[in-house]
């Protein structure tokens, strides 16, 4: 029972981390390797607003999400737009942006001291004999809501449909009057906002540390690759797969192996099925 509950929580957490990355890659085909950095930045902005400026929790969260959205848009507008279509340059450039942000933060003194965000609602309840924080339950709710809302957004709104059209066939989308650069910009902004949201929901469970940026990036990549880059359902299912696998390894092997699971998942998936469990796009082209 414990495994079931915490596995679900962990899986939803992974989904939250990965959705932003999946959105950007699935839509603009720009692998945004600055994802982890944006996640950490969102945490620090919330902390600053909450503790240093004394704003209310909800307001600071809102500000943080908005700022991360702007950061994402700026990264696309000033950097990634110039290297679009050159896969390797995209990876190196966005990874370099993330690296610069993270190491800059580390140097800027965000280390050593503990930066923590308070829980939304403190306290815990017993669920079938297992004590669970209310915050973790809220996390499940928020995660599920985000998944549903995003699904609705990409299926029933103009922008969402335009984004999906871009992912499927950029040229056809252009012919139908979809501004591909604007859409990619929006996708990057939304993806960054999702990273910010994930940070605000997940960070109260631990400290805000710079290393989280790297871990989030690896986990997000793991989820997206196992699920198939650009595939929605795949990402969610893969999050559950890896989430439960991680909890199982923690219970039966020890927490050291948690990251190894994610890394091995990436390596094996890429070797066996490079397009991921549910990715249909370009399967033939990417394998020789």
């Amino acid at each position: 029972m414990q495994i079931l509950i915490y596995g679900t929580i962990n899986s939803i957490a992974l989904t939250l981390m990965a959705l932003g990355f999946a959105l950007v890659y699935g839509i603009s085909r720009v692998p945004n390797f600055a994802h982890g950095a944006i996640y950490v930045v969102a945490g620090f902005i919330t902390w600053t607003c909450l503790k240093a400026l004394g704003l209310s929790y909800f307001l600071s969260a809102l500000i943080a999400i908005l700022i991360t959205g702007v950061i994402g848009a700026m990264i696309y507008r000033f950097m990634l737009i110039r290297v679009r279509g050159m896969a390797i340059s995209e990876i190196i450039a966005s990874y370099a942006i993330g690296l610069a942000i993270l190491e800059g933060l580390r140097w800027g003194g965000f280390k050593g001291m503990t930066y923590t965000l308070p829980l939304f609602i403190p306290g815990s309840v017993n669920l079938a004999g297992v004590p669970v924080d209310i915050h973790r339950l809220l996390l499940i709710g928020i995660g599920a809501a985000v998944i549903v809302l995003l699904w609705l957004f990409t299926h029933y709104t103009r922008i969402g449909l335009a984004l999906r059209g871009m992912a499927q066939d950029e040229r056809a989308a252009l012919m139908l009057g979809i501004d591909s650069d604007l859409m990619a910009l929006l996708a990057t902004a939304f993806g960054s906002m999702l990273a910010g949201l994930a940070a605000i929901v997940l960070l109260p469970l631990g400290n805000i540390v710079v290393e989280a940026g790297y871990n989030v990036l690896i986990l997000a990549i793991a989820v997206c690759i196992v699920g198939g880059l650009g595939s929605w359902m795949g990402a969610v299912l893969a999050a559950f797969l890896i989430g439960f696998a991680q909890i199982l390894t923690v219970v039966y092997l020890g927490s050291h192996y948690q990251m190894v699971v994610a890394l091995l998942a990436i390596i094996f998936t890429l070797i066996l099925r490079p397009s991921g469990l549910f990715g249909q796009q370009k399967e033939l082209e990417e394998r020789v």
């Binding site: 692998p31 950097m79 110039r82 290297v83 896969a87 390797i88 340059s89 990876i91 190196i92 450039a93 990874y95 370099a96 942006i97 690296l99 610069a100 942000i101 993270l102 190491e103 800059g104 580390r106 140097w107 690896i218 990549i221 690759i225 020890g254 050291h256 192996y257 990251m259 190894v260 890394l263 091995l264 990436i266 390596i267 890429l270 070797i271 490079p274 990417e286 394998r287 020789v288």
Partner: protein, 337 residues
Amino acid sequence: MAKADRRKERLDRGIKVRSDGIYALLSWRELAYLVLPRLVLIVGLLVLPLVMPSLYWQRVISNVCLYALLALSFDFLAHYVGLVSLGGALFIGVGAYIAALLNKYLGFSIILTIPIASIAGAAICTLLLLPCLPLRGVYFAIVSLMYPLAAMRIIEALNIFGGTDGIMGIDSFPSSWAEQYFVIVMVLLFLFGLRRLVNLDIGLVFRGVKDNDQAVRASGMSITYYKSVAVFIASIMGCLAGACLTHIYMFSGISLFALDFSILPIAATVIGGGGTLAGPVIGCFILVPISELLREFGTLRIAFYAVILMAFIVFKSEGLMVYGQRKYHQFERWVKI
């Protein structure tokens, strides 16, 4: 002329054309045109340890050369075979651990450990990367990024090879001169060796694999075989650098799988000019001393070369060496359209 109705025309210099073929032997001037740039690099590298003021900067030279070896291996794989490996640290780590284990537990001397670690390490790296060689582009890049991270976590989790403490007390080079000249000669050897290799038959096949692998396959050649040969050659360089590193610092630990070894060679290649082989070496000579000067800023160094990398890749992606070559071989003038 307004900006709109002119364009820049580039023409080869006469001396370049004259020195292209065997006729270069006819005059000293043409010979000098060909030999001088190479000679400057070789002599410069060989003299460098003699003119360096302190022991500290002599150590920096060894560091530069180790990074240069890594950068060469990255450049060769990325621009001649089409495999962008973001995990140069894997080569360093494997080479270093093999050399350290051989030296510490089997008591092999340094003359034996370095060649054994290079060859055996390269074989191990090739075997490890073999399953993902059919991948290309982004996918290979991501997997290769994961390998050093996975290796680090596995050593940590299994607590093998000294675990998080690493292996200490490894023999050092007999003298700092031996250390420097060994790495310098190795860099020159591999630099000119690779330049020769990419123009041999097998080098043409490598470039074929990069440009159009289906055509190579259609010619009845196994892509995976050629890719694994290329990875073997590249990882010899990486493992050699790792083995030297472990003997220079007399230490081997999981920090050898760190990000530095993956990022700095890539930055050096981008700055120096990808695909020129000499460019990455020059890039290392710019970046590594800068990062030594910035040592007191701690982790800001990584941020610093991330910014350089970003700026170069986004705004000036051709690199210094390509720029220099163009200026050396060609002249430019504005012409009316």
